[in-house]
Subunit: 218 residues, 2 copies
């Protein structure tokens, strides 16, 4: 039974692979699980049918048979738990890989999203520059700590796992800020993720959606 995920009909990132469906696509590609995609418009995302699936009116969602999930972290974990390839078999290593998923989503991503969203939410205020300085400092504090832990290791804890996948995706949200570039080990970590064949297939798939949207003037 093939799962169906949802993605933006016209992604705000224009196919740069920063929307959260990319995490799920990448995970599914890593484990070799084909999937269907249902595209949703911004107005559809706020309609009852979609809110039934995703109470916060966002993407992605994941449906397979009777199961429906709506958080990218939970979807990636579910995929990783049900297919080999994204979590180690050894129980302690497995728990640590899951720990890195939570670290990506609850410790590293929030200050990054805050920096990103501040531009849209608050960029017109005269004091935006002052705010941005504080928010950027906070992101750099987190990256200092993450870079210190990663060191020159290839991945966060042994072999590539769903924890690395999620951390790469979270760091990619800094694209365009120039911040990640100040951390050579973290930049190399992101580049290693992007070089994986499964990442490339997932990226191409979401890029094709964005190109189709552009051709249709969406």
């Amino acid at each position: 039974m093939m799962p169906t995920i949802t993605a933006f009909e016209a992604s705000p990132d224009h196919g740069r692979g920063l929307a959260r469906d990319m995490r799920v696509r990448w995970a599914l590609e890593e484990v070799g699980q084909p999937y269907d995609v249902r595209l949703v418009s911004f107005s559809e995302m706020k309609q009852p049918a979609h809110l039934e699936l995703h109470p916060f009116g966002q993407i992605p969602t994941y449906e397979r048979g009777d199961l429906a999930l709506f958080e990218s972290g939970a979807i990636v974990l579910h995929v990783a738990q049900h297919h080999p390839g994204l979590l180690p078999d050894e129980p302690n290593a497995r728990a640590r890989a899951v720990n890195w998923m939570f670290a990506a989503l609850n410790t590293v991503e929030p200050p990054i999203v805050e920096l990103e969203q501040s531009r849209y939410m608050l960029g017109d205020y005269v004091w935006y520059g002052e705010l941005r300085t504080v928010l950027e400092h906070r992101v750099r504090s987190r990256l200092d700590q993450l870079a210190r832990r990663l060191g020159d290791a290839k991945w966060l804890d042994g072999a590539f796992s769903a924890g690395d996948l999620m951390m790469v995706m979270v760091l990619r949200r800094l694209e365009g800020t120039g911040i990640c570039e100040d951390y050579p080990h973290l930049s190399a970590f992101v580049a290693r993720g992007e070089a994986r064949p499964a990442y490339k297939r997932a990226f191409a798939a979401q890029r094709a959606v964005a190109e189709s949207a552009r051709e249709r003037g969406l």
Copy 2:
């Protein structure tokens, strides 16, 4: 083998149960797992020994035998996966409960933490009031959606689970803002969590640490 967690020697919340060790204590109490607590000072949290356990220099951590974890979400999930009482047995219901854990930590908590941290980080700027209005609006948008989904149900998806535990803890971080009180169904949900015997035991344990710290002038 009894696990050991870390907690603040002198919690910044003075024992209101808002620090992240409370989540882990509550989960351990729900499943009836006794635990040891090692208290750490703010300076110890920045020392190499603690950073080895927790690369971001925070609490809680969780150690049991050879396993060490450092994200409260991962710790609660680990506890829930290894003891009955916090996740349904039926696989789809189990995946949905984990989905609510991620929703609490990655969708609901970040705007709440942002509102909370903005006071410490930015409260002295003349424009803080304007910022707070925007941040509070964002929290209310999330709570609108969450309250709509919860409706007058007792818990988020069937029986009480680790997803409810995490959502209750996240909503409790609004304490003192008066915001949650505008959502009767969410306030009742939080109160149901707080009324659980396991919650009360966990709360009393962290409160005792705070009182001991106060007596010692910490």
